[in-house]
Amino acid sequence: MAVETYETSHDGGWASQVHAFTERYLREIARSRVMLAWSVGFPAVFYLLNLALFIDLSTVPDELLGQVKGAVVIGFGTFTTIIVCISVFAQLLVNDIEAGRYEQFRSLPISPTADLVGRILAGVIVALSAFLVMLGIGVLTGAEYGLRDPASLPLALGAFIAFAVPWLTLGLLLGAVLSDARYATVISTVAALVLYFVTGFNGAEPSMFAADATLLNYLPNTLPNRFLNYHLTTISNWGASGMTPPPVPTGPRWVGLLAAYGAGSFLLALGIMRRLIYKRGVLP
């Protein structure tokens, strides 16, 4: 009998798989009203409520007000990022596990790294979009931003990615150990809120932090916020903004620490993906 041949449209290699997973997760998130509302709507409402009821900017000089509001909004933006990374990532993974989809995926020649990188790319794109939406809402409330120097944009982008990966990893871990997407959402949101307040609005208000304020330049939620604040505002009088002491982290040392957080958590995420999700050895 003659056997017809059919074309393959993709090579099914690593890059092709990354593309598949990134596109798939982006489509799923874009179509989930609950995820979108939780990712963007909740932090935006949270910011507006705080601005109306709790944030006192009466002592800030007028010439600094726009920039200080910008710094506050960047803090809420990092809060949003944490919410998106943990909650959305955990929900997507729990949904996949509940549907038995990894039973299906494990029968395919899929690279767990491709799945992970696809998830991270989608997570970073969604988190960055939510962050930018938050900055936009900030503009409507009088916030001002500015690039510190020509290197600020790539540095801020790199810092944002390095900032997102540890929280995506936490979302992955929660998704792998929790059996219900609702728990994943509640736990991640409560964790993000507690972190946000305990660390003085992600390091924007060191006076609210009960421990040694120097730590704010080292914690994975506060270091990125303070670093982004430096590069995305043109504040020069940091004392008046309330963000110092400790000094705002700006140099290569802090870039290195952010990169280390990103790389370390990526390796951890890869271990989780290989061992807990794909049921393979931790190492290839």
């Binding site: 009998m1 056997v3 059919y6 074309e7 393959t8 449209s9 993709h10 090579d11 099914g12 290699g13 092709s16 798989q17 593309h19 598949a20 596109e23 798939r24 489509r27 799923e28 179509r31 989930s32 549907a99 038995g100 989809r101 990894y102 039973e103 299906q104 995926f105 494990r106 029968s107 395919l108 020649p109 899929i110 049921k279």
Partner: protein, 300 residues
């Protein structure tokens, strides 16, 4: 002797203290269609997952074309796991696009199959809005689009109407004509028409294996009875004391110690109106299923 397309030796799978698959040995020859039959919940899907490399057996080994399933890594097989494959928040077309990027041997054959399965007009709808039958059509089309020698299908005809069932069978048989090997888990007796061999699975283990004709020839004589009290009155003359109702009649397997005249005599006493009818019949695949699954091949 050729290397089996798939071999399972002593495969066990347990979750905690619950054994789901118990010491299964199977060998599937290249180009063969093996039907794994059994009711829901006996471990067919778990066994299929072990065979596909999705689930690691608690003990035992699985080889595909002589290589362990781990070494194969999914390169030479395509697995359709019922309801787990298609992604609800993607459209049918997006699902195809997604899977096309995951396997190096995924072809555009699915386009022909979705047309043959009359799903092409629904490809741009979200799969979460598909009926069970539509989902199955998409899953089968995507699974068979991967050009590999071995296919493992979990309940491929569940939720499919009778008219479409034949098209599914035709598609599988066409692929089989091209030399493809199939292991198909099913609880639908109609799927036995596909099989070169049937393996019956009960309580996590394979209880009987053989070509359909041999299995049909091995069941005790089938007796049909009809009448208001016939099934109850005559049940002692049937294997396992059990009859299986099908519409207005009931069918059972004649006990080796009885014959049809015994049943007629009992029914003549029980049915004063004389409405009881007793006839023998050739065994169907449904009879075969009932015998091996519900009676566990009791007289063998």
């Amino acid at each position: 002797m050729s290397t089996p397309a798939l071999r399972a030796e002593g495969v066990r799978k347990s979750f905690g203290n619950d054994g789901v698959v118990d010491d299964v040995d199977l060998s599937v020859e290249p180009g063969e269609i093996l039907l794994l039959m059994g009711p829901n919940g006996v471990g067919k899907t778990v066994l299929l997952s072990c065979l596909a490399g999705s689930s690691r057996p608690s003990s035992g080994t699985v080889t595909v074309d002589g290589r362990t399933i781990g070494e194969d890594g999914g390169e030479t097989l395509s697995f359709m796991l019922q309801n787990a494959m298609s992604i609800g928040r993607l459209t049918g077309r997006e699902n195809a696009r997604f899977y096309s990027r995951l396997h190096p041997r995924f072809t555009d054959r699915w386009r022909e199959d979705v047309a043959a399965f009359e799903l092409d007009d629904d490809l741009d709808k979200l799969v979460e809005n598909y009926s069970e039958g539509m989902t199955r059509k998409l899953e089968l089309a995507l699974t068979l689009s991967v050009d590999v020698p071995l296919y493992l299908l979990d309940e491929p005809t569940a939720g499919i109407d009778l008219a479409m069932l034949q098209r599914f069978h035709d598609r599988i048989l066409d692929a089989n004509d091209e030399g493809k090997t199939f292991v198909i888990a099913s609880h639908r007796p109609q799927d036995a028409e596909l099989a070169d061999r049937i393996a019956f699975m009960v309580d996590g283990t394979v209880t009987a294996t053989g070509p359909p004709d041999e299995l049909l020839a091995s069941v005790p004589p089938v007796v049909r009875v009809a009448g208001p009290r016939a099934a109850t009155a005559a049940k002692d003359h049937f294997v396992g004391g059990e009859l299986f109702h099908a519409g207005s009649e009931a069918r059972g397997f004649l006990d080796p110690e009885s014959d049809v005249s015994d049943i007629k005599a009992v029914l003549a006493d029980a049915e004063s109106s004389g409405s009881a009818r007793v006839t023998t019949a050739d065994p169907t695949y449904t009879d075969l299923f009932n015998y091996h699954v519900h009676l566990d091949g009791e007289t063998n």
